[in-house]
């Protein structure tokens, strides 16, 4: 495989960027959701800890 | 302390030697299945013979490794051993060495199977033995540590290979390459470097796992 010109390829670029964005976004949102869930569970349990 | 532990392990293995026989049959069957997977292409089988040998050995090791803690888990003997005024490291190395010998035996037993099924033999038997010794040592050290962990957990059959397989990739690569070069020819003496890599891997993991074993079985 020598270095020729890779034609086109915008599709792959968009795929890579979108995948990265979606993964970060999804993970961030699950983290925030889980955190809110844990915080609300900790409160009703009274002044423990 | 180490010799006592080792003697106990070897005695245990001798008493359950029928199990080793069963594992050998498992390993041989695996080698057979590999040839069915590839097809009756003699040249291809010969080229990949060392890969099949080591994969077969690796798969068989999951059986022997998890079995090695079976006795301890029954009657909760593991805790009993910890109450003794002994260094847990002696226990670890005793078991690791015993597992190592067992895997070496298995490996040597599978070599004739490989020779017959794949027409892959070599006259450099001592070198092959050295590679098998070093390669199985690489499997045994982390394998014994993880077997100690997973023996105490649910789903141990799945967890042991899950943890062990990614870890031993360098040992697998080196063993396969060294064996392959020994069988197929090694004009540039590359196998020496692969054997050196195996030795380095073994050194690192036999020390590291021994160091960490105490923490794994404490409490």
């Amino acid at each position: 495989m020598t270095g020729g010109v890779v034609v086109g390829g915008w599709g792959f670029v968009i795929a890579a960027y979108s995948l990265t964005a979606i993964v970060f976004l999804t993970y961030g949102m699950t983290l925030i959701t889980k955190l809110r869930d844990e915080q609300s569970r900790a409160e009703p349990e009274g002044k423990q800890k | 302390m180490l010799t006592a532990a080792l003697r106990k392990e070897l005695l245990l293995q001798w008493r359950t030697r029928s199990q080793l026989m069963a594992v050998f049959v498992f390993g041989a069957t695996t080698l057979l299945l590999f040839s069915f997977g590839i097809g009756p292409n003699a040249e291809m089988l010969r080229t990949f013979s060392s890969g099949f040998l080591w994969l077969g050995l690796l798969l068989s090791s999951t059986l022997t490794l998890s079995e090695s803690f079976h006795a301890e888990m029954e009657n909760r003997a593991l805790e009993g051993l910890l109450l003794l005024p002994s260094d847990p490291r002696a226990l670890y190395y005793g078991k690791a060495i015993a597992n190592w010998l067992q895997l070496t035996l298995l490996g040597c037993a599978l070599v004739p199977v490989m020779v017959v099924l794949y027409d892959a033999g070599t006259t450099e038997l001592l070198k092959l033995l050295a590679i098998i010794l070093l390669g199985t040592a690489g499997l045994s050290a982390p394998g014994t540590l993880y077997a100690a962990m997973t023996a105490q957990v649910r789903a141990k059959q799945t967890l042991l290979p899950l943890l062990l397989f990614p870890l031993i990739v360098p040992a697998l690569l080196a063993s396969v390459k060294a064996t392959s070069l020994t069988i197929l020819g090694d004009p540039m003496h590359q196998s020496r470097s692969w054997i050196a890599l195996l030795a380095a891997f073994d050194l690192i993991y036999w020390s590291l796992c021994g160091l960490l074993y105490g923490r794994v079985v404490e409490e």
Binding site: V6, G9, F12, L19, V23, R41 | F165, L173, A200, L208
Partner: protein, 227 residues
């Protein structure tokens, strides 16, 4: 927790700027064409993945020395984030490899090492899921993380060597100087994002640990939470 959200916001902002420059401002590369632009997310992810692994390794050692469960919480976060990044790296690498080499996987030593460590960390996360006792879970994960992290350089060199006998393909790591700006911006963007993620995930782990410790054992059995 405000700090974590600040990091995340900063990270997102930097990534937007850096990606914009990388996609629309920077010129296309001579041989690779537009596909080169994938490097502006791939390389930053790679650098930060290595940092995440280093972080997990550090937490593992810290826990074994201090026995402070806060380090176990951080370890849990580090493991999860490192696993996520490793997965992302393998996907990005495949997307890059297909138009460039015609195959989805070309056994590049760096990416192959990432894949091996991805499976190793997945195994450790699985181990955590099956161990109910928090103390034991912490010790075992720390031990397993140390063993896996020590293996990383060994895996890399063995694969590199194993591969060098066959292929001479260059790996997508060298980037010419005119492309450095979007790379640096995105590298910091991913870094801040990662720091924010780890902070949030550590918080979650701490909450869960507190709940586990507080739960009284019922008939000898604990209703342990899956990590």
């Amino acid at each position: 927790m405000k700090k974590a959200y600040v990091f995340i916001a900063l990270g997102v902002a930097l990534l937007l700027v850096g990606s914009y420059i990388g996609l629309f401002v920077a010129p296309a590369e001579e041989y690779m064409g537009q596909v080169q632009r994938i490097m502006y997310v791939h390389v930053p992810t790679a650098w930060n993945w290595m940092l995440a692994v280093l972080f997990a390794f550090g937490c593992a050692i810290a826990f074994l020395f201090t026995a402070n469960t806060k380090w176990d919480a951080r370890l849990e976060a580090g493991l999860e984030v490192a696993t996520l990044f490793a997965f992302l790296l393998c996907c990005q690498g495949s997307i890059w490899a297909k138009p460039t080499w015609g195959v989805w996987w070309d056994w590049d030593p760096r990416l192959t090492s990432v894949a091996v460590l991805l499976f190793a960390f997945l195994g450790i996360l699985a181990l955590r899921g099956f161990v109910d006792d928090p103390q034991r879970r912490a010790v075992w994960s720390a031990v397993a993380t140390i063993i896996a992290s020590v293996d990383l350089p060994i895996v890399y060199y063995s694969v590199k060597w194993w591969n060098s006998l066959h292929q001479q393909q260059s790996t997508p790591q060298t980037v010419a100087s005119q492309f450095h700006l979007p790379l640096r911006i995105n590298a910091f963007g991913v870094l801040f994002l990662m720091i924010g993620f780890i902070m949030l995930r550590t918080r979650i782990a701490n909450y869960r640990l507190a709940r586990e410790m507080a739960m009284p054992p019922i008939g000898g059995e604990q209703a342990g939470e899956l990590a």
